[in-house]
């Protein structure tokens, strides 16, 4: 039996532990791919990545870093002040889920910037979105509410 300093716990937060199940990551990537396909049907495929990146940034920022609380009534509000990102994996940092969700906006940024010529895309906007998302996901920002925005 391997000796480990901290014991891995069984994840019990029903709001977030569905991400550990089969097909959850695949579904997430599938949604992104579907959005890109839908957008490329009427615009340049490379430029479509920019819009996928921006749309993905807006949606994931809202769902993961803005909305607080949990729809699970039996938790009786223990997670009411935590965003989805903060609730993930029982607040443990550096887990597989967190790494995956941090890599996705970065990869989308790379696809967006390389997808079309620098003059045709809103490069600054792409950069701001990816920086905001990545900073929001760092452990240092756990529980931090800048300027008291979204505190309650």
């Amino acid at each position: 039996m391997a000796v480990s300093r901290t014991v891995s716990e069984a994840r019990v937060n029903k709001n977030t532990n569905w991400l550990n199940a089969e097909g959850a990551w695949l579904w997430y990537l599938g949604l992104i791919a579907l959005t890109w396909l839908a957008l490329s049907s009427f615009m340049d495929a490379g430029l479509a990545w920019t819009y996928v990146h921006l749309f993905h940034g807006a949606v994931t920022f809202y769902l993961m870093h803005w909305t607080k609380g949990s729809p699970i009534a039996e938790d009786q509000g223990v997670w009411d002040s935590h965003t989805f990102w903060e609730q993930l994996d029982d607040e443990e940092q550096g887990t597989r889920n967190r790494k995956f969700f941090a890599v996705v906006p970065l990869v989308l940024f790379l696809l967006a910037t390389h997808g079309s010529d620098f003059r045709q895309q809103p490069l600054l906007l792409n950069l701001v979105v990816v920086v905001v998302l990545l900073v929001a996901k760092t452990p240092a920002m756990h529980g931090v509410r800048l300027f008291g925005i979204n505190k309650y």
Binding site: A24, G30, S70, P71
Partner: protein, 498 residues
């Protein structure tokens, strides 16, 4: 080792599609509500419910709430009269239409068939009703203890094979109020990840530190025990005052019997922890003589420090009990608020349990009680085998009267319930958050009161509905097929000390 049900990728993706559509439409409707219908909240008051907390109830549950809370008009025995209601209309309450239908009852916890009138129990219950009345009208510590309550506790202790027992009027409250009496701040609770809400409730209310071990995983349990004892309490590193391991006899969402009870008892003796066994579903339902999980696993009941159970499932009554050493029961009697302040159990309900126990222990009824146990086991194994042959993915072990059948896709859940009801079978379906997002299922509860004709009819209806809903998820590849534990192989393992 029981593994959690794993749908194939295709099924999982289809379930996620359902959830995404639901989620999306829910948010769109919320948005329209917030923009177009001005909030009726009182000015300057904080809202009673945060809107996200309520989201699941408003936007998901209310779409299928006609499948829950169906009112019944007869005792819930093998067949039950169910009242019809108007169809779903957003979140408006459903009205009774005045019609009713008699349907086969696969949803009630009626394992030994005591839910209906019984020729031995019912006359005795009516006698007690005449003599002692309906309500005790007082708490146990004041004037609410009658001779029936004393007799009940003695009978329960005798049945379980423990030194003493104490009973409570509510099963959920038994866990919720006794765990805080047994453990407190500075103690450690190691609880199975699939434990019931009452245990979670009691554990949170106790103030003890809670650690959860992966369901039925003895390696993880031992790892947690070793690490916790070595590290001590968080921050202060002081030794734990008490360590309590909490497991259940039958996990009703999985239909699994806790077959590793022998290992858990060995672990608890090795690391000097205490064991709390919640036998809500297993008492009266498994074991040769109905003594529950301890008999099934071959464990001495004196080795389990706290034996908890309920009277709701197998005995056709209500309430719960705790069995253990005389010291433990005396402590609970003096400290538990459910005993000191809650109204005591209704005397006829107590008499129902006493009569049912006497039947099961074969002190009356000429062997009818043990026959019920055998019938239950035969019915359960028969239905389980037939469902497996139908190609449905059934969870749990043989001998367990609870059989969850996987549906996975939440969109099919409501349909399964409605179609079965239309065809004359009442079933219960379970979805998120009682299960994980993709593991929605229906849970069938078999009873000793079901005849073979009833079960064949139920299987016919289920096969028909399963065809319509494309539910035959049982993996056909024998290499991927999860090992279905048969009673024989289990007994051999138990004999070998597994």
């Amino acid at each position: 080792m029981g593994s959690p049900p794993r749908p194939s990728y295709v099924i999982a993706i289809s379930a996620y599609i359902s959830w995404t559509v639901w989620f999306l439409f829910g948010h769109i409707r919320d948005f329209i509500r917030d923009v177009f219908w001005a909030s009726k909240a009182r000015k300057d008051y904080a809202p009673i419910r945060q809107s996200y907390e309520d989201f699941y109830t408003r936007r998901v549950f209310y779409r299928l709430h006609d499948c829950f809370n169906r009112p019944i008009a007869s005792a819930p025995s093998a067949w039950v009269d169910v009242l019809h209601r108007t169809p779903v209309n957003e979140d408006k309450p459903l009205e009774l239409t005045g019609d009713q239908s008699k349907v086969l009852n696969l949803s009630s916890y009626n394992y030994l068939g005591f839910a209906a009138s019984d020729e031995y129990c019912t006359p005795r219950v009516l006698d007690t009703l005449d003599r002692l009345g309906w309500g005790a009208c007082c708490s146990r510590s004041e004037a609410g203890t009658t001779d029936k309550h004393v007799e009940l506790e003695e009978t329960v202790a005798e049945f379980l094979g423990v030194e003493a027992a104490i009973t409570f009027p509510m099963g959920f409250a038994t866990n919720a109020f006794n765990i805080p009496v047994i453990v407190g701040k500075g103690c450690l609770i190691i609880s199975d990840s699939l434990n019931h809400a009452s245990i979670v409730n009691g554990s949170r209310g106790s103030g003890a530190k809670i650690k959860v071990f992966k369901h039925d995983n003895m390696t993880h349990l031992e790892q947690i025990l070793r690490t916790s004892i070595a590290e001590g309490q968080p921050r202060t590193r002081r030794p734990w005052k008490k360590i309590l391991i909490i497991v259940e006899g039958i996990y009703s969402m999985e239909g699994e019997i806790c077959s590793n009870l022998k290992t858990i008892v060995a672990l608890k003796k090795k690391y000097k922890a205490y064991l709390f066994l919640d036998e809500a579903h297993s008492i009266g339902a498994i074991g040769e003589t109905g003594r529950g999980a301890t008999e099934h696993a071959g464990v001495n009941p004196r080795d389990v420090d706290v034996m908890m159970g309920t009277f709701t499932k197998s005995f056709g009554s209500c309430g719960g009990y705790i069995g253990g050493s005389k010291q433990l029961i005396k402590c609970i009697r003096n400290h538990c608020p459910a005993h000191l302040h809650a109204t005591s159990m209704s005397p006829p309900a107590a008499e129902q349990v006493i009569s049912a126990l006497r039947l099961i222990m074969n002190k009356a009824g000429n062997g009818r009680g043990p026959q019920k146990i055998r019938t239950l086991r035969d019915n359960s194994n028969y239905v389980r085998k037939r469902l497996i042959d139908l190609g449905l993915e059934v969870l749990g072990d043989f001998d367990s009267p609870v059989m969850p059948v996987m549906i996975y896709n939440p969109g099919k859940l409501a349909l399964f319930s409605r179609l079965c009801f239309r065809d004359g079978v009442a079933v219960v379906m379970v979805g998120f958050p009682a299960t994980t997002l993709v593991n929605s299922r229906t849970r069938l509860c078999i009873s000793a009161a079901h005849t073979k004709e009833d079960l064949d009819y139920a299987l016919e209806v289920i096969e028909d509905v399963a065809d319509q809903l494309v539910m035959r998820y049982r993996p056909k590849d024998h290499k991927k097929e999860r090992k279905v534990r048969s009673a024989a192989s289990h007994m051999m393992k138990a004999k070998a000390g597994g």
